[in-house]
Amino acid sequence: MNTVMQHMDCRNFAALDVAKGICHRTKELVLADTEHCEHFVATQKCKFCDHFVAGDQYLGTCNAVPSKPMTYPDLITVTCEMFTAAAAKA
């Protein structure tokens, strides 16, 4: 799992494709896998959620519902009503 915050972890990052996106702050193209800049604001992903329990090989569990379904760290959750920011993880 990525431990260094990258552009693709930023709320200002609008993904164009799997490798790059546009920064809403600078309006410039940025590569998804490069380290973030001073405008960084963490986006909502499972890996930043209090309900997320990490598993092996890019998998994990969502504890927000009783059935505890599989989920994965980089699932974007800006639309998930159960997302609860985990400050320590972010």
Partner: protein, 903 residues
């Protein structure tokens, strides 16, 4: 010294003439018409050129998570709830400069797999995908520019991006979750369940042999089960989503617990309306998530213009999520949203927007009159719509997306045609749509003119101007012929002449049934056309006619694999008539076993994966409470039998008839030996070219030269030669009628569909040499009525005579591609010549014609230097594609097409 076929024939005095009607200038000539998009569209299209085809697991994840929770729920409700969950959780992405917003996924050119349809094609590579996902990815920075050449296809894994299904990139962090999600569908997907039951058909072993030998290209029910149809935007435009929800709730209360005289499916209406409510709520959530994103962006945006644009986007979306549109801008946002929603509901290619210029005309007319919009602003929006359509990708297996579709998604916009009361339906907005397509050239939406003699000349000349951009659009379709076909096929379901006039083209050139519905805007009523039929180009996909002939000649044994496909016929084939009879027998067997298998696949699809949103859009599902799986659509007789390689079959039969049975210049046995030995040439794969002229001789023994000469010089289709043309006529009359003997799962007769899309390349690769002189592995003639390259020697009017010896309205379509050198249609005089040429073909009864206005030398250069031609487009079949995203066999074939130097 190795010689190519072109050199051999040149030395033999029968040169292949790939230029007819003159000689092209030595220098490369560019297309005459070339304009620039508006700045906003240019910027967004340039972004597209830099974008990789990208897949995500987001939609499948949420769909599967909800579906798993609802074990025991009624299937249609369970599916609707899963779709609602998925739509509600799609991440909204809005890019700076966009006015028209929303997309399939959060990537600009995004798509996603649907494992509930089929999971096997990427699960088969599970180990490989896992390894790619878990290996440490090096930084993609250095590799990106290198990978960018050749268009947006991700054909190789790089950095943190894993290539999946040969075309799409997926983030490696998502691969384990993708595989986990897909595993949940193993044994439950339409593919898996369908396979279980299709094996119960007695002819299943033959079906398997047919698929392995590539007599048929692909299955139907779990690959692209919908599409090649015309969407209907009417209900959201007339009622708005809140209005539709209200209607569904009232109808639900009305039918709950009541069979109303239908003991079989009457009770199902309750569940169907409940499903409709769920999916409408999901789509409203999806739209509102985009609205919230626009508000968020507006809040922190510092640029005043961009800030205002975000605010206006939010306002439009907040309105469109609930209300019927009242302005042109709201209406175009609404139809785009509806279009993407249907595409996200199922795996679809060829979801055609239909006659958009006539659907949006009420808003255009009233906004212009009220001073709310100008033509320049409309032009900008229509260009933005083109960029959005071009961003659509369809996730399916490599064989389907690459081998059949060439990566295209076939969103065909129809223009012209007739109104409900039989007048020209062309309007000023349609001329702006053409102008937008001239300025912002792009692959989607492709355009089709529904040609009718009643259409005004200025409109037709505008369309010819567009042809001269070299984009291959608009295609020209015979409106009167299409009406005849529609009436023949759908008359038993109540089709009238008035309603037939609403038709449009779905997909490449699939004539599709549509209806007129009354739109009300500010107390004025407009009758707008929209799709009212089930998907077409479903059923029996692409039967390779030359391959069937190979199996006839070799007693049912595939000469490429050595495996039996059909039971041996055991005939000596002592007459031409006997060969035709055996061919018909094998062809019937093929259609029968593929029909039964595909009927089962589609039946599983409709039981478990039925269209809900697409259904509620189509008349008369909302009114009768039955969706597609209960024949709620107005027209349900849409299944077909598709063919490929018609002209190679006709030319091969002509050669056998003439050389063996009439002239007795050689025996059938000798021809068979020559075919097996590829007339003494290497295979196309060995040569690395799939064009006939480039093929190289193996050795100089000359053993088969005379027989090859006889085959090549036998009568050929496309020269107004009754010898070959009579064979074509006989084939068409038999084929188009025999399809009616087979019944779809909807208990309606099948019909003939004669498009090749891109299948003439892989099917050619799987077929040995043919008696017309074509060599092993080379592509078949494109389309169904284009001449085989270099064999049409008497000009286009002779070709038209040959093509129209049969009644095209017997078939859903026919297809004719013509390649013209740009100098052949230069200037206004050239536009008029092009129109006259088109009218000549239409008036003879030709169904379809389209033009590649391009210099073949430019295509050769583009093949050598693809980096210089990122935006070069060509017409392949019923679609236009970026040159750099087409496979080499099709590139070779397009280069080899006969180039007309004058018309």
């Amino acid at each position: 010294m190795t010689r190519t076929l072109a050199e051999v024939l040149e030395q033999s005095g029968i040169p292949i003439r790939l230029q007819v009607g003159g000689k092209a200038p030595d220098a490369v000539v560019d297309r005459e018409v070339s304009k620039e998009p508006c700045p906003r569209a240019k910027k967004l299209r340039d972004l597209y050129f830099q974008t990789l085809s990208s897949a995500t697991n987001e939609f499948p994840y949420w769909y599967t998570r909800k579906y798993s929770e609802l074990e025991g729920e009624i299937p249609v409700v369970r599916r609707a709830a899963a779709l609602k969950e998925a739509f509600s959780h799609l991440t909204p992405t809005i890019l700076p400069g966009e006015l028209l917003v929303m997309g399939k996924a959060h990537y600009y050119r995004g798509s996603f797999p649907m494992p509930w349809l089929s999971e096997g094609y990427y699960m088969a590579k599970e180990d490989e995908l896992y390894k790619a996902a878990l290996s440490k990815g090096s930084s993609s920075v250095d590799e990106l520019s290198k990978f960018g050449s050749g268009g947006g296809n991700v054909t190789q894994t790089f950095g943190n991006v894993v290539s999946i299904a040969g075309k799409f990139g997926m983030r490696r962090e998502e691969i384990p979750a993708l595989l986990h999600t897909a595993r949940e569908w193993a044994g439950k997907s339409v593919d898996d369940v369908g396979h279980k039951y299709e094996q119960m058909v007695p002819t299943y072993p033959m079906k398997e042999a047919i698929m392995r030998s590539i007599v048929c290209m692909f299955d139907s029910g779990y690959t692209l089960p919908q599409g090649r149809e015309v969407i209907n935007y009417y209900y959201p435009l007339e009622y708005g989503f809140d209005g539709l929800l209200q209607m569904a709730k009232e109808k639900k209360a009305e039918v709950a617990g009541r069979a109303d005289g239908d003991g079989l499916v009457g009770m199902n209406r309750l569940y169907n309306y409940q499903a409709v409510i769920l999916i409408l709520e999901g789509i409203q959530n999806w739209i509102m998530n985009y609205a919230k994103e626009a508000r968020r962006l507006a809040d922190f945006e510092s640029g005043p213009q961009q800030k205002q644009e975000y605010q206006e986007i939010a306002q439009r979306l907040e309105s469109v999520a609930h209300n019927k549109p009242t302005t042109f801008r709201e209406a175009i946002q609404m139809i785009w949203t509806v279009h993407v929603a249907v595409l996200n509901e199922d795996a679809i290619s060829g979801l055609s927007p239909g006659r958009v210029g006539q659907v949006l005309y009420p808003y255009y007319e009233q906004d212009k009159a009220a001073g709310r919009i100008t033509d320049d602003e409309v032009l900008e929006w229509m260009q933005l719509q083109r960029v959005k359509f071009t961003c659509i990708d369809c996730f399916a297996s490599m064989g389907v997306v690459g081998g059949v579709l060439s990566g295209n998604t076939f969103n065909n916009l129809s223009l012209g045609g007739l109104t409900k009361d039989g007048r020209s339906a062309a309007n000023d907005l349609e001329k702006l749509i053409i102008e937008a397509a001239i300025r912002c050239t792009s692959t989607q939406p492709t355009l089709t003119v529904l040609y009718d003699d009643k259409l005004p000349e200025d409109f037709l000349l505008k369309a010819t101007e567009c042809n001269k951009t070299g984009t291959g659009y608009p295609a020209w379709v015979n409106n009167r012929g299409a009406i005849d076909f529609i009436l023949n096929q759908y008359g038993p379901e109540g089709m009238t002449v008035e309603e037939a006039r609403a038709l449009a083209i779905g997909g490449c050139l699939e004539t599709s049934p549509c209806s007129w519905l009354p739109l009300h805007l500010n107390a004025k009523e407009y009758w707008i056309p929209g799709g009212s039929g089930q998907p077409t180009s479903v059923g029996v996909h692409f039967i390779s006619l030359p391959k069937v002939l190979e199996l006839v000649l070799f007693d049912g044994i595939d000469q490429r694999t050595g495996q039996p496909v059909y039971s041996p016929h055991g005939k000596k084939l002592e007459s031409y008539e006997e060969i035709v009879a055996v061919f018909q027998d094998y062809f019937r067997k093929t259609v029968d076993c593929l029909t039964t298998s595909n009927n089962i696949q589609h039946d599983i699809w409709r039981k478990q994966n039925m269209a809900i949103f697409n259904s509620l859009l189509k008349p008369d599902c909302l009114l009768n409470g039955h969706l597609i799986h209960e024949l709620g659509y107005r027209y349900n007789g849409t299944y077909n039998v598709e063919s490929c390689g018609t002209v190679n079959l006709v030319n091969s039969l002509a050669a056998i008839k003439k050389v063996v049975f009439e002239d007795r210049a050689t025996s059938l046995e000798e021809i068979k030996q020559a075919l097996r030995d590829n007339f003494g040439f290497k295979t196309a794969s060995e040569v690395g070219s799939f064009s006939l002229a480039d093929q190289e001789k193996k050795e100089e023994s000359g053993k088969w030269d005379y027989i090859h000469y006889l085959c090549l010089t036998a009568p050929k289709y496309g020269n107004d030669d009754p010898y070959a043309d009579t064979i074509l006529k006989g084939w068409e009359n038999w084929f188009c009628r025999m399809c009616h003997d087979y019944e779809s799962l909807n208990a309606r007769p099948l019909y003939a569909c004669q498009i090749s899309v891109s299948t003439h390349a892989p099917m050619g690769m799987a077929t040995i040499a043919t008696p017309d002189g074509r060599l092993a592995g080379t592509t078949f003639a494109d389309a169904s009525l284009s001449a085989y390259p270099g064999t049409d020697r008497n000009g286009p009017y002779a070709l038209f005579e040959s093509a129209t010896v049969w009644d095209h309205s017997l078939s859903q379509n026919s297809q004719m591609n013509l390649k013209l050198h740009p100098t052949a249609v230069a200037g206004m005089q050239g536009c008029k010549k092009l129109l006259a040429l088109t009218q000549a073909y239409m008036r003879k009864g030709g169904f379809h014609i389209q033009y590649n206005v391009v210099d073949s030398k430019m295509l050769r250069d583009a093949q050598q230097n693809p980096d210089n031609y990122r935006d070069l487009m060509v017409r392949v079949a019923g679609f236009t594609q970026y040159w750099v995203e087409i496979g080499k066999p099709i590139q070779d074939e397009v280069i080899a097409r006969t180039e007309y130097e004058g018309v």
